[in-house]
Amino acid sequence: MIDKSDLWIIIFAMGIGSFGLRFLFLGLVGDRAMPEWVLRHLRYTAVAVLPGLVAPLVLWPAATNGQPDPARLMAALVTLAVGYFTKNVLAAIFSGAGTLFLGLYFLG
């Protein structure tokens, strides 16, 4: 269960932090250029964090008490593949959800 006082700390810290990131250059740095090595690392933040977040959820789903589940693994593969090849987030979500429901129906 999520602790409510922690939740409000997190909501406001994330609000201030996200606004800070958005305002950082526009508001404070102005037209000065950023060092190239900083930009080079910033380009990979999303692809460095999100896959690491998802991998354990796919391999060890909480709903099956951490046991790898064929329906969920298949759904994950289909979602990633459709997203990669079509570049269409919604198409990927619907294909993945469809695969998951078919998998759960046929594989139990």
Binding site: S18, D31, A46, A55, A75, N88, I93, G96
Partner: protein, 241 residues
């Protein structure tokens, strides 16, 4: 007082932003549903969406809170997902930097994937746009997008409790993330970063406080940057021959 409003640019922004209602609304709806499943009230869910306006970071925070990760780890991980906003901010600065302070603050609050992507595309296509035209276009894009983000978060939070467990909503978060990761894998450097991130997250899963994710994030970023450098050097060598 200077006017920053140009009607035709604003309307063009609105028109270009309209299709994104179809992207933002289901995503907001899903956040609303998943947040209430995790025990958040309707008010908490809507505040979360209105204060942060960043789906991926919000899902990250929710997932880590569910895992009982320490508060600081939740905040740092979610903000790491949002680091790209700093890049957006940097790349819009040459265009919208001359605005007065409070307008820049408002641009910053409404700076999301959609407003950034469409605006930079438009500003590059029409380099002779005035500041008023650029500002109007930017806020035009936001006009259909942002209200739908609030509205559908609220709808999701309100219907959330009535969704049966058979719908396997536990997997909505991984599927949503994977769907976003797919299109992000644009180059070999992105693929390498993602691969190292997955390997580290699994290899370091034994670490307490979700520190494995921190290791994965840092290792992934360094990998992406190094592979990019290597590819640039490799290409330069190929040109020289």
């Amino acid at each position: 007082m200077t006017s920053y409003y140009d009607r035709s640019s604003y309307l063009r922004g609105v028109r270009d932003g309209l299709p994104f209602i179809l992207v933002v609304s289901p995503f907001a709806l899903l956040f609303g549903v998943v947040a209430t499943e995790a025990g958040l009230t309707v008010f908490e869910t809507l505040t979360f969406s209105a204060v942060v306006i960043a789906g991926a970071a919000q899902f990250t925070a929710l997932q880590l809170m569910n895992d009982n990760a320490p508060t600081l780890v939740v905040i740092l991980s979610a903000l790491a997902v949002n680091l790209r906003m700093a890049m957006y901010s940097a790349s819009l600065t040459p265009h919208l930097g001359p605005l007065p302070f409070w307008r820049r603050a408002f641009v910053a609050y409404t700076l999301v994937d959609q407003s950034y992507a469409l605006s930079t595309l438009e500003f590059e296509k029409r380099p002779d746009m005035t500041l008023a035209e650029k500002t109007s276009y930017f806020f035009g894009v936001i006009t259909p997008v942002l209200p739908n983000w609030y509205l559908w978060s609220l709808v999701g939070a309100m219907v959330g409790q009535s969704i049966p467990p058979a719908l396997a909503l536990d997997f909505a978060v991984p599927i949503t993330f994977l769907a976003m990761i797919g299109p992000m894998l644009r180059t070999g450097a992105h693929v390498a970063a993602a691969f190292v991130s997955v390997a580290c997250a699994i290899g370091f899963a034994f670490l307490p406080w979700n520190l494995g994710l921190m290791v994965a994030g840092i290792a992934g970023m360094v990998t992406g940057a190094q592979v990019e450098l290597w590819m640039v050097r490799h290409a330069a060598k190929g040109d020289a021959q």
